[in-house]
Symmetry: C2
Amino acid sequence: MKTSTEKEKSSKTKRDVMLEAGICDMRYGVKGMYIWLPYGMEIRNRVDSIIREEMKRTSHGEVYFPLLIPENYFKKEEEHIKGFSTQVYWVTHGGDKRLKRKLLLRPTSETAMYPSFALWIRTHRDLPLKIFQIVNTYRYETKQTRPLIRIREIHFFESHTAHETFEESEKQIAEDVEIMSNIGKKLCIPYLLNRRPEWDKFAGAYYSMGADAFMPEGKTLQIGTIHNYRDNFSKAYNIKYKDDEGKEHYVHQTTYGMSERLIGAVVLLHSDSTGLILPPAIAPIKGVIIPVIFKGKEKRVMEFADEVHEDLKDFVIDKRAITPGNKYYDWEKKGVPLRIEIGPREVDEGCVVIVPRDTKEKIKIAKEDVKETVEKELNALSDRLYKKAEKLLREKIVNIEDMNKRKVSRKIARFNWCGSEECGHAIEESLGVSLLGTGSEKEKGRCISCHRDCDTIAYGAKTY
Amino acid sequence: MKTSTEKEKSSKTKRDVMLEAGICDMRYGVKGMYIWLPYGMEIRNRVDSIIREEMKRTSHGEVYFPLLIPENYFKKEEEHIKGFSTQVYWVTHGGDKRLKRKLLLRPTSETAMYPSFALWIRTHRDLPLKIFQIVNTYRYETKQTRPLIRIREIHFFESHTAHETFEESEKQIAEDVEIMSNIGKKLCIPYLLNRRPEWDKFAGAYYSMGADAFMPEGKTLQIGTIHNYRDNFSKAYNIKYKDDEGKEHYVHQTTYGMSERLIGAVVLLHSDSTGLILPPAIAPIKGVIIPVIFKGKEKRVMEFADEVHEDLKDFVIDKRAITPGNKYYDWEKKGVPLRIEIGPREVDEGCVVIVPRDTKEKIKIAKEDVKETVEKELNALSDRLYKKAEKLLREKIVNIEDMNKRKVSRKIARFNWCGSEECGHAIEESLGVSLLGTGSEKEKGRCISCHRDCDTIAYGAKTY
């Protein structure tokens, strides 16, 4: 186990990765709130685009609900208030005037949206209602903040749906699970999907699932959550539909949320001692062409490099008057997936050298095959990143047969759990982990706390 | 002149246009804040994309600065505070705890950004610095609010630049003027560009320019503002660069801002009694194909319509089992630029009928020419919208030779003005207008207030 000083050093390194790659600048005057730099914004916009594509594919409409929520909207669902009231920011004044009604900054948008759901939904023909928004949410975190991981201004995706029946809402959950899987693949983030224990579900939810990715620092990071609310909120916000006979029913609702933690996971999972390695799907620059100049041969090399660039319009060509080594370093820090080196020898041979950011292996290919090879190498790099992270995840899962042994450190514990809260907390205490919840697989065994027979498999780990 | 009841009716109609087209829902619990519906969001995202393209073309990097600004950041530039302090929202509590330092919601981002500019800019090699962000800003408006026009949660574009010299900053202003012109053309919004009088410039600016579009209701709407700050902010925020000799200088800064008023202008300018007419550049659906079915000929018409749809992938085909008339009405409300009607006769002749949203003139063309004609008709519609609005603008400008006559109503007054504040206010009072500022053209004459010789042309109108 790392000492606390080592941990700090490693955490500092990731901060450096982010600043040096040009993702975020952490020097802002409010704790837990950071500046997104142009390169970081391009990555973030690409992640948002991937989400929007998935939403379009699955017929969700994009909306925007106001940031400011009136106190009376917020106070309708009891569990939800309990869950959030200690961490909402309150706006109390406009100019010098005290507002008649306090307003809160959205910590999430259930309470902003659902009064409108009650207006929009009249009959079963208005269902399913499927919407999403990508906005910032605000939570006055009392825990230690950390860029991209635990922050007070969160770049947030949230989809909200309403359905006729519980069964329909469960189909939506299945669709969300599929979307999460597509996004995990594109961003090269494998994860475990766990159904959270009762005491850790979203405030107001019937049940919650979390996508837990394992980070090299030894903890799991929740990168997405999917909730079935059943009719908990529709009862509080009076969201009803009439069926064909004119009979009224409360709708069943689900939500699905993700944030810039997706980018946090990429930074934590996919960087090395030089800097970032970006999954091609979210890389603002897919590759860089570097002419390696020798005196007297500049012109031929430059012309050849320009020709290669013609075929690779989303590549950058770096003609700066600095050494190739310095150029390599600059683009490696930024995580650019591919580098193409072109020197006099390549020109003579009609070839280029392709160097993937992760392996740094030199691949020499004929100039006419460049476009095709680049496409192939980008896919191959993406596969390698995913598989490497998946291997890490799988390797770190340890089966626990008996909880009365030593703590589980920097690993994910896998064990039978009877499902009782008492045993859950006992296990957390004994293993020194948080119970992530139950996976979808079944396996006969005995609860490691009470030793009763059960077939439920649960996971536990230290979390961010 | 319209009576006040007529005005209300016309204003209500525009609200209806927005709700019926599916742009905004005004039923939200905070005054001046509205819900963007899916169709409205698609339009808004298209406007944002056009802005992002222009920003990319002119080498501005996209950033994001936090919403919450610490009080001490805000209070550094005196004029700026004076201008904004009555209309900022204050966050005073996190959960139940009073914050040690109050935070304000950004009304605009100078004070959030410029402490970072002081960190980022070291030498002349860091200049020019050109960034922008698209965010929401918050202003506690005391005037009457109105959707898309005067609101308290503003969807805001703001670019901020820093330069070595005043001359360089003036070149930036010229670039901003060109960008504004490109955007005006694409959105079919002609405007006058006026240099605002001293008493109406942006808080902290050296000078301000406003793009004023004329709306059919008889008032001008400011759809964009461009400011040269000179070194007013750099002195307050200590933003300096070293020249080649190591000598320090304050940077010169500019900003450029636009908002969803661009969409407000489109709604006010380009709608008729049926509903919206969208400029093709921002239309989520470029056209709709409507099979006009007669008993017994369904199959042939549908097949033919599907074939046409093959060629027009960004068109929608409407196969609902309702009358063609109802379909026409639905899509007209939404402002879809083109309609294609296909009935049995068209199938027999191998033709389609194209109906532009504005003229409703039926254009019959051979099926094989559909793609080309659609492209041409979209451009033609865009041209007509722009020219119609430009004609309105030009017609409404009245030259005023003498201010001691009747008020200027539902028009734009054009007159010589000596430039003095005293005369400016006297003219405003006498004509019953706001002084928009001075245009770029010169024309010899006499100030209509003091009768001194001058060649400055100014404009005045009622404004939103």
